[in-house]
Subunit: 343 residues, 2 copies
């Protein structure tokens, strides 16, 4: 690999000048610049990021830390949407994206801690949802610029971004109520999932309250966002007396699990049971019938988070309140008025 010295020699200038050309500093004559550029081309020169990083103290790498089990991550299409947004944005800024699937911060040698410690990144985006996440702490200590996708509680909701989960649940439930449903079951995500679940539960309750209803504790079950967990979590709801005429699941995959279980009970959707999901992943269009769901802007979430990070990096421009992106109710085939209205 050619170095800056090789280029300098070939162009008959000093390395300083080459460096100036490299960074487009003024006070280099056009001819000299041209000569240097030519030498670079001839030698197929490319500056070493390591060297540059060392002297500039910038690495042009931003890290993406996802404290999930990779098995989980990659089966979550919604997270993938987020990554897509992040990748697009880092790429646009000519930054590199370092991926770390940090299996819970437990092991000290996890990629996760490796990343935070080697000073290899200029900034980091974390997707935080679980509470008591150790990840955050290390980054905080290192003072690494960071934005988190999710609900950041402490020290403050600084530089965080999330979708309007509250509103999403509110709209979903309200829609069901408007259709005439009064007995509504909820398949929640794991309670350990901080923020989003609380918000959605809050939104659901608020919606019910409009109609003078409250969330009955036997009308709520919990899954872990996988299809199977939705399948299992459907059980208590489908056997409850009275059986809910509608179920609101906190993601599409669980909703499709519910769908499958309901079918085994010979319930037809949406005639016997209405179903609303969350996220609006491709799967929701695939199942029969397609799912009414709450669209979350995953791609934008990733993109905006990354933009924010660059704003912090470039202009030290933190945002003190969380950025909240709107969600949207997408009405498809899994919802209808109840066949035997309960009221």
């Amino acid at each position: 690999m050619a170095t800056i010295y090789d280029v300098a020699r070939r162009a008959n200038v000093s390395t300083t000048t080459v460096s100036k050309v490299l960074s487009n500093t003024p006070y280099v004559s056009t001819q000299t610049k041209e000569r240097v550029l030519e030498a670079m081309r001839d030698l197929k020169y490319a500056p070493s990021l390591a060297a540059r990083g060392l002297s500039r103290n910038r690495t042009y790498v931003i890290g993406l830390v996802i404290p999930y089990d990779p098995d989980y991550l990659f089966s979550d299409p919604f997270l993938l949407e987020i990554i897509r947004g992040i990748e697009a944005c880092t790429n646009e800024h000519d930054y590199n994206l370092l991926l770390s699937l940090a299996r819970r911060a437990a092991e000290p040698r996890s990629a996760y801690s490796r990343m935070s410690r080697t000073g290899y990144m200029d900034g980091v985006i974390t997707i935080e949802t679980f509470e008591g996440d150790e990840a955050a702490k290390e980054f905080e200590e290192r003072q690494l610029p960071r934005v988190s996708i999710g609900y950041r509680k402490e020290p403050r909701a600084i530089n965080s971004i999330h979708a309007d989960d509250y509103r999403g649940a509110f709209e979903g439930i309200t829609y069901l109520l408007k259709l005439g449903h009064r007995q509504i079951g909820i398949v929640s995500g794991p309670p350990a999932f901080i923020g989003a679940i609380e918000e959605r539960l809050g939104g659901a309750q608020a919606a019910l309250a409009q109609y003078g209803l409250r969330l009955d504790s036997n009308m709520i079950t919990y899954g872990d966002f996988t299809i199977e967990s939705g399948y299992r979590a459907a059980e208590p709801l489908l056997t409850a007396q009275p059986r809910p005429t509608a179920i609101f699941a906190m993601n599409d995959r669980m909703a499709s699990g519910v769908l499958r279980r309901a079918r085994e009970y010979n319930l037809s959707i949406p005639a016997d049971l209405s179903l609303v999901g969350f996220d609006d992943v491709p799967l929701s269009m695939l199942v029969e019938p397609s799912l009414t769901t709450i669209h979350q802007p995953g791609y934008e979430l990733g993109q905006r988070a990354t933009q924010k990070l660059f704003e912090i990096l470039d202009h030290d421009l933190p945002s003190f309140d969380p950025i909240v992106l709107p969600v949207e109710l997408i009405i498809r085939g899994s919802t209808a008025p109840p066949s035997h209205p309960s009221s």
Copy 2:
């Protein structure tokens, strides 16, 4: 951030000694070592990868270059499996994984070319499937250690790895033939997809040949691996005379597209039409009926590719023949003997 000097000063030794401790070089007394380690702990020292990279000429980063449209990539669960395998392996080796979704090498400033030029990676894994891929060339020029997942044709199949596509198609079709199907349609992937498609087509033909059959050109249509394309590609097959009693689709997503279209024609699966997919992604279990498919070991593919790369990096141990991983026929609910055997 503490540097090696800080540690050296605090432990009252030279940086050389600290460095020795860092790399576990012998000839450091136990006490000294302990003192150094303590100093590191106290200062929360972590070596700078940039500096280390500069002097060692190793960056501890390996790149993953996927010359696909990210939209496509992230909707392909099979590719994600591969990534999962890669990530697990790099992580195990304490390496960082740089992700580049290189939108076709077209634009000169693509992440892709940036990555190959900045000397930021010790090696690279490429997922190559499209022909005429410019990606490869640059890496070749830079002599960057690399292994490719897919079919590498030139200069040779050196350091490449792929699943046994030929065998997969062979087994799938043979299974259908054994069930009694004689009119078999094929929904192929895009012809531009190098290697895998050819292989599968070859395997299909060989299977048919066993029964004295040949692949009729109106029994093959092409999709681009998306569900929609499977839906569209099903059309000509389902309206052909005679209509095939079985369809072999080259991935599960297209198979589920076919499924949907067939249903619109009021064909019941598998009674009226048998369906075999490829990949064995989670989706294949989800559709009704679940898909008989060819399991490809995506995770292992990624893992083995990465292992190979480390072998090259550490011991300069290239493999001259492609590594071929076995596939497996998974029989589920979408296949049955034809209801009106054609022969």
